[in-house]
Symmetry: C2
């Protein structure tokens, strides 16, 4: 760990690769010899075109996307997508299927209902406080689309295999696990992700939309709320969030060139999560909160024997250079968010610390 | 000028104060000793609360805002506001007044019409290609609001005095001149500004909304499209664009503490623009395109005797370290955008260069 840096287990905004931060820092007063900061160059310049086009090209290579998929950069986070998705893809008279696996799914469903559009919650894990991913779901064959949250940051659950929805386009909020493991894009009509967990800073949302979905977009939507406005202008109908897109580009470059791609990061992510889950499975002191078959590789949620011990653990961890281990304010407990940029070494060091803490307090 | 930096006359994203860029650079790997980059800290942390609260407090002091005004940070740029304003503030059965002074006004009007809401263009300068600000406008006394674009980046015009609209709330897109000169906020129901010209980087839009306007917001709008969602959560209903807000805070700190406030920057801005307009008024070679009484202090648009000379001027300027002097792609010609962060020294050096160019090519 570089001097003065901590082990950052924040849930989002979250850790970024140190080499990416260093590159931003180094070139911050003059981007590629332009004599201007990346924050000062025109989005209509050749320099910025190269940045956004490189980010798109890297996304397509990393996720193995065909030409029928469009990589878009939007603002407003995943939360704005919650309302844009039904606006764009759910025609009057049709209904969409939603699986409710926690806070973010619930919010996505709420934004359909606010618009007086029809959706059906075809499965929910609210009966056990969202500690698992529902199985054997009956989706509607005539649904306009089926929506899932691929990873649940707050409850620490994740879809291991995506559900089979037949010909219905699948749509996934992948804010907290995009680019963390390999998956087949072909069932997906759209995936989207607020960048601030796995691929960049806050302030930009990546959306990957399939051709056939764009054909559904109604003509009469406000310009900034139509996906076609973004797809027809390479995400530059108006000034895009340049710095955030630039940072995404550097993170994806790091993922491709330094890490070695999605398969490689998946291998590392499985190893990282495994270290923590193995500890839970062999400890009476630390207890994972998610069902074993639904455990997230990204957000590892756990409890200690008492809330007092949890507070002591979080405080002692902080003093020892481990930040962000407090559970979400809505659920309490502890959580280690271990996105792509969190190193194996960081987890190993954390696990050592946890074992010591257990010895001293167990 | 610091080594390797150019004189940046970009229209937006635009120059930022060098001291701000240096502070960002210096603390980029560890924000205030946190061991995390500003891009890595939680938006729910005390650290980020301090940033956003400081940005709000500085805005209130600089613009002399009473407690009845709410300072909000949104995403999607001014362009998203174009559709949100009628959604939030224009009830069914009422009409809004718009003054059309160029591209951005035209786009704002279009977003009302897309929603099948009623608006009236009460004045327009399209008869002379938007080279002036209309005078003696008859506004409708029963309009829901009256909308203007305070400064027109593309055509280089600016409202010197704002129109008297009586009790009708005035709404202004101030993207390209917010914080550049003193004005009385009291007639305004709302002002808004994409940050990337005068107050920060691309990726955040500041909106200042008066209490009585918030009371109009319909309950049934999508959450992310309601101004009340932002006002009730200090702009943190979801993850805000943290880096952009942080940069705004530093720019406002520079404006308050280094420059000395709005009156001081206005004095400097008038001096800066004056140097260029004086040149036009005494030269047969450089010709300003805006009417004298409508000239912008922020975007100085001008022509040379021929398009060939304009191309040569832009190219030679670039070679001499002056960037961004090309006019907007929709109108051609030349433009020097001289926002707050552009120093008097930069303009003086540019004017010297222009005089030499005239001598050699006139």
């Amino acid at each position: 760990m570089t001097e003065n840096r901590i082990y950052n287990f924040n849930a989002g905004p979250a850790a970024l690769p140190l080499s990416v931060l260093e590159e931003i820092q180094e070139s911050f007063l003059s981007f590629k010899g332009s004599g201007m900061s990346i924050t000062e160059i025109s989005h209509r310049s050749k320099q910025f075109d190269d940045v956004i086009n490189d980010a798109v090209a890297r996304t397509k290579r990393l996720l193995n996307l065909g030409d029928n998929y469009h990589v878009l950069f939007l603002q407003g986070g995943a939360s704005l997508q919650f309302c844009m998705i039904p606006m764009n893809f759910l025609p009057e008279g049709q209904s969409a299927d939603y699986v409710n696996t926690g806070t973010w799914s619930t919010k996505a469903i709420k934004e359909v209902e606010i618009q007086n559009k029809k959706c059906e919650t075809v499965a929910s894990s609210d009966d056990r406080d969202y500690c698992y991913i529902p199985k054997n779901i009956s989706f509607n064959k005539d649904a306009a689309y089926a929506h899932i949250t691929s990873n649940n940051t707050i409850k620490g659950t994740q879809w291991d295999q995506f559900p089979n929805v037949g010909d219905v386009p699948l749509i996934a909020d992948m804010s907290s696990d995009i680019m963390s493991k390999k998956f087949d894009i072909s069932p997906f009509g759209m995936i989207y992700a607020g960048a601030q967990k796995n691929i960049g800073p806050a302030g930009v949302c990546m959306a990957i939309v399939r051709d056939d979905m764009l054909k559904r977009v109604p003509e009469d939507l406000p310009s900034m709320l139509k996906y076609t406005t973004y797809s027809s202008k390479n995400s530059m109908y108006n000034t895009p969030p340049c710095f955030a897109i630039y940072t995404i580009d550097l993170v994806l470059k790091w993922l491709e060139e330094t890490v070695g791609g999605i398969e490689k990061i998946e291998e590392i992510n499985r190893k990282k999560a495994g270290l923590l889950y193995n500890l839970f499975d062999t400890s009476e002191f630390f207890r994972g909160t998610a069902d074993k078959d639904s455990r997230s590789l990204m957000n590892v949620t756990f409890r200690l024997p008492s809330e007092d011990l949890e507070q002591k653990f979080i405080k002692t961890a902080q003093e020892n250079g481990f930040g962000g281990l407090k559970g979400h304010r809505s659920v309490g407990g502890c959580r280690a968010s271990i996105y792509n940029a969190t190193s194996l070494e960081a987890i190993e060091t954390l696990v050592d610390f946890m074992k010591t803490f257990e010895k001293e307090n167990g």
